[in-house]
């Protein structure tokens, strides 16, 4: 587990860039936090670091966006989904279990048991108007590798 205190959007952007440089295909980020906690903002800058040129917005209504970066980036928003059937209907596991691409999942806490191997939970906790504690934790070889890289990157 690794925690970061951020005090501005600029800080969050830096952290997202670091995550973008550290992540590899096969790792899933489960983004967890209240409305306005910064999940989409974080995703936007992470996707940009991975070379996505499209506009990144939260797919609350269309459920999933795909961006073409150095690899496919699957951006899910599970906010509107209530049941396992609905999650299956959108073919969630087909993307989540694929070795190709990177999945970024907002509101992942609604379906914790459905997250694939090598999921890194990213918890956004509001500590003030502009300050957040952002915590990364995960199991699995690729997830641990990602966490190590985040630690190394944070020291520089």
């Amino acid at each position: 587990m690794i925690s970061f205190e951020v005090n501005s959007e600029e800080d969050t952007k830096k952290l997202a860039t670091l995550a973008g440089k550290s992540i590899k295909e096969g790792v899933t980020l489960a983004l967890i936090g209240d409305l306005g906690a910064g999940k989409t903002f974080f995703t936007k800058h992470l996707a940009k670091t991975l070379g996505a040129e499209e506009e990144v917005t939260s797919p609350t209504f269309n459920l999933m966006n795909i961006y073409e970066g150095v690899c496919p980036i699957y951006h899910f928003d599970l906010y509107r989904l209530e049941t396992l059937e609905q999650l299956e209907d959108i073919g969630f596991c087909e993307y989540a279990e694929s070795e190709e691409g990177i999945c970024l999942i907002e509101w992942a806490d609604k379906f914790k048991s459905e997250m694939p191997e090598n999921t890194v939970e990213v918890n956004f906790e509001k500590t003030g108007e502009n300050s957040r504690t952002i915590t990364f934790s995960g199991e699995g070889e690729l997830a641990k590798e990602f966490l190590e890289k985040m630690k190394e990157g944070a020291l520089i």
Partner: protein
């Protein structure tokens, strides 16, 4: 002439057949998605077969079970073409089409497709007098359960489909065979053949993919077998 589409798995396959002859087929298993490859492949296959759109008399599509996303792309394309050209549409069950890789007597064919989370859609068959007979009806099962099932069966078994390789892993039995790669995965030629022998076409307006939802199937499985 019949056009057949197969997009239920990572394999993207399009075929054109006529009078029980395969005129052209493109089968690829690449990283490109069906939404990008399907329509260009239809155009290419028609060209290779030296056929026009207007030569199309029937269209067939694989309806699963399989990848929900893939099935939707295949069905949407097939329905649109059937509607635009006003030709009959045939929905072909993917697992049954897979059995036709081995139209052989005295062989149990266990066909599987990926149901994610280490589970498989499984149906098994035998050809009796040249007719396909279902031996074990379609279910969603953990890979381990399919393995147990075939280990407990003394017959000669051929494993076909997307999960065949995974099921075959470390199995060392003289009576269990893994289909070679060229006769293992879904192919549009099989879909065309199945449709050419079908009794009647399906209704364009209400043909649906054969979705077998794991969440529903798991509940059934637990009821029948008890939860560990």
């Amino acid at each position: 002439m019949i056009l057949a589409l197969e997009t239920s798995s990572k394999v993207s396959s399009v075929a054109v057949a006529e009078d029980n002859r395969l005129l052209a087929e493109i089968t690829t298993e690449s990283k490109l998605t069906h939404s990008k490859t399907l329509i260009p492949h239809i155009e290419k296959v028609l060209k290779l077969a030296n056929k026009e759109k207007s030569d199309m008399e029937k269209i067939a599509v694989s309806i699963g079970p399989g990848s929900f996303t893939g099935l939707r792309i295949g069905l949407a394309a097939a329905k649109a073409i059937a509607y635009a050209l006003n030709i009959p549409l045939y929905g072909v069950p993917t697992l049954k089409s897979l059995a036709y890789h081995f139209l052989t007597p005295n062989l149990k064919i266990v066909a599987t497709m990926d149901a994610q989370k280490n589970a498989a859609y499984r149906e098994s068959y035998e050809f009796i007098g040249g007719d396909l007979k279902v031996i074990d009806a379609l279910e969603v099962l953990p890979v381990e359960a399919v393995r147990d099932e075939i280990l407990n069966c003394g017959k000669n078994i051929m494993l076909v489909g997307e999960k065949a390789e995974k099921i075959y892993e470390n199995l060392n039995r003289g009576n269990i065979y893994l289909a070679p790669f060229y006769a293992r995965m879904p192919r549009a030629a099989l879909v065309a053949m199945y449709a050419l022998n079908a009794d009647a076409p399906d209704n364009l307006m209400n043909l649906e993919p054969l979705y077998v939802r794991k969440s529903e199937a798991e509940v059934l499985w637990e009821k029948r077998h008890g939860k560990d």
